[in-house]
Amino acid sequence: MVRGIGFVRALLGLLAGPSIWAGHFGLVYGGHAALCGAGDRLPLVARADLPWLLLVATGSAVIALLALAVSGRLTGWLIGTSDLPDEADFLVRVARLLSALSLFGVLASGAGMIVLPGCQLLR
């Protein structure tokens, strides 16, 4: 019998990058919408916290994705190993490329924060 890669682990490892993108996206959009829509009524946060929230979310997502994209060891650890080295190698490379692609996605989302102010419709 071949010592195989577990499916759940493979899936999570493979999708780590896009999942971070998705988490970041959900957080910045959801946080922005919630703070702009109901900033003064939310517990714990206020509308003034918006820039910090966006900055921290984007910063940590960028760091995590950079690590995943650059470090084959990290991604390989996430996915697990197999007696079929080609298979593990394939999955790791796909996962790293996906992290790189996600990094682009996160940076593109971040671009808006530099140029545009918080909650206005500028028209």
Partner: protein
Amino acid sequence: MSDSGISATPRPAGERAELLRIWATPQGWRLPSAVNNTVIGLFYLGAAFAFFLLAGIVALLMRTQLAQGDATFLSQDLYNQMFTMHGTTMMFLFAVPAMEALGVMLLPQMLAARDLPFPRLSAFAIWAYVIGGAVFFSTIFYGLAPKGGWFMYPPLTLTAYQPGDNADFWLLGIGFIEISAIAGAVEIVVGVLRTRPPGMTLSRMPIFGWSMLIFAGMIIFAFPAVILATMLLEIERAFGWPFFTAARGGDPLLWQHLFWFFGHPEVYIIFLPAAGLVSMMVPTFVQTPLIGYRLIVVALIGTGFFSFGLWVHHMFTTGIPSLSLAFFSAASIAVAVPSGIQVFSWIATLAAGRERLRLTTPALFVLGFLFIFTVGGLTGIMVALVPIDLQVHDTYFVVAHFHYVLVGGMVFPLFATFYYWAPAFSRRALSERLGRWSFWLMFVGFNVAFFPMHLTGLAGMPRRVWTYPGDIGWDGLNLLSTIGAYILAAGVLVFVVDLVRNFRPGGGAGNVWNAGTLEWLPNDVYSTRSIPLVTGRYPLWDQPNLARDVEAGAHYLPDAPTGGRETLVTSTVEAEPQYVLQMPGAGWSQVLAATFTAAFFLLLTIKLVWIAAVCGVLAVLFCLVWAWGLDPGPARGKVAVGAGLTLPSYMTGPQSHSWWAMVVLMLVAASLYIAYVFSYLYLWTVSPEVWAPAGAAPLPPLSRPLVAAAAFLAGLGLIVVAGRSLPPPGQRGWVAPIALVVGACLLATAVATEILGHIEMGLEPQATAYAAMVFLAGALAGQVVAAVLVMALFVAARILCARTDRERRNSFDHTLQLARYAVGQSLFGLLLVHGFPRLVA
């Protein structure tokens, strides 16, 4: 895995005859009871193509009306119905089903599996779709067709502005595609992950497998949003719960969020399988492996993810804060990158070819696709930029854009697919001569029809207008578009002629393109003679003797060791053989279940509530009849599958294929619930003033939800106890069925406790969006608990009939799975409904 087991020893005589008998397709009037994937796949594809032709005729009529300004060929009302029908039919009755159909037809062949893992489920989905779709489309003939546009924005689609049943028919039409899409997702996830041939690791899987896997994953997360949206709209139409009515705390934009959270991924749901097919065809055209296989996998997964970050892209003009728009603009830009990767991978593969590209008909369609889709992708970048979209949104520019993307991205690859794969399913290939005519007419016609629309839109013409002033300067462009539309239609007509003249289903014409993947192995009703051991991405190129060995029965499962229909289940990543899956054959229960499901929705639409209820009960009944015959148990023990390998013929727990199907269904349910939670929080940000405790009846005292939670946990506990006390194999028991049913009833009591608590406090669902949301939480919990209750009664009956026991226990395990999910979701619901208002108070 070694090759040691594979040797071409002669197989006993009579094996093939046995396979033919077991897998025989019912003939004559029994044909609808068939479940073979190639047969029902053909029905499915045929029905989808018929809807394509019908919706195309509708489009021609509309183009005729628009050929000149101030025309009166069609009336305003009919035109409004027609564009709604055209969009709805093309998206829901053609594009998604056509892709599902290709999955049903091609996927098992590419994986050399004998059939899909749940043959009757596909058959059920198809019949429900065919019946429901036909009735839905026929409404255009009685002027009852929906007229709210294919995305049906409320408040226009609320009863105040659209009384009558028209809008309900739309909700009906989409109900069927929801059913068949989710059924398809189950089939495809389990099929791709568990029924690949031994040795076909993930990295050796055909790209179409990847694209269908992602397609299915996207369905799991996208469709629930539209299921919830349609539920909300129908509830508001029927009972007046104000989800979308601003005056009572609802918001019309909630619909847009939910609809487009489905609707944008939907475009990629249509495109990804088509792209996968192109990735399969291009290597064959130039007889060389795909360049950038890995990159394409990355592109497909990336597209799948990014496409969920685009939905507000359809809402740039609704007055959302600019920074939010920027996030979505960014994601819309990001999704272009994976498409770029794919386009250039195909170009690179063309360049790498051992042979120069020969311009056969499928190759022409693929090249046409490349051009049209590239144009559509580039205009997609334009509409992704917020300022440009502010001008072109909802104009003919956008009409041009999405036709370039959808016709380019889906219809042209589909026609390439028809020409390329016809020889695998027809005794005769389609005609190259007619094919060229068809291509050139379609390609020229398409561009003549749709390119001018970019300019029409920039000249200011909004979409969905049944007429326009003759003196405003749009005549020439519109006339050109109309001419193009007729040329395009002529191309499709030529294809239909070709189909009638040359398509003869049954058997195949052989590997005419010298392709490298498994669907070109010699095959018959049982699929391939034996299931091959695969060592590369292009087995027919990599293993020159493969076809001969497979046909000689040298590989796995050359016979039918359990005496019935079966296929091989392998591990998810490395495709290690695990067990033999016994599957049901032809039957009527799924056809009847589908018929009554269709009848249920239809009769409900025309408000014949009681007859509808009877049909609904019958539908459930036939589903149970069908499920009664499943879960065969370990009676057959381990069986030899050839090549020296012995495998179990039954599996329970997380390794079994049905466990995976339940997980997929639970993911769907969870996505639906997440969409609900989003809606709850969203409506709160829009109108906090109607939320408890200030703006509504007070919440019930905390003791209420605590009692409900205790009842949920007690019910679940009883079901767990039932699992511990299942009778030994072959025996009956009383403890387990009683515990099971009482447990399920406790769950139902818990739901009732929660709902009654709010009623006692005087909360009325019609009063505010808050109240409607609170009751909806109860309704959603009730829905899952009702399913648990039905399953519990069913399993209890099985235990009493000695059909479920300690070892033959899949049906019990799935009930427990669902009960766990139901309790988890309900407890979260209690937390949200009782906790959130207290938190923000």
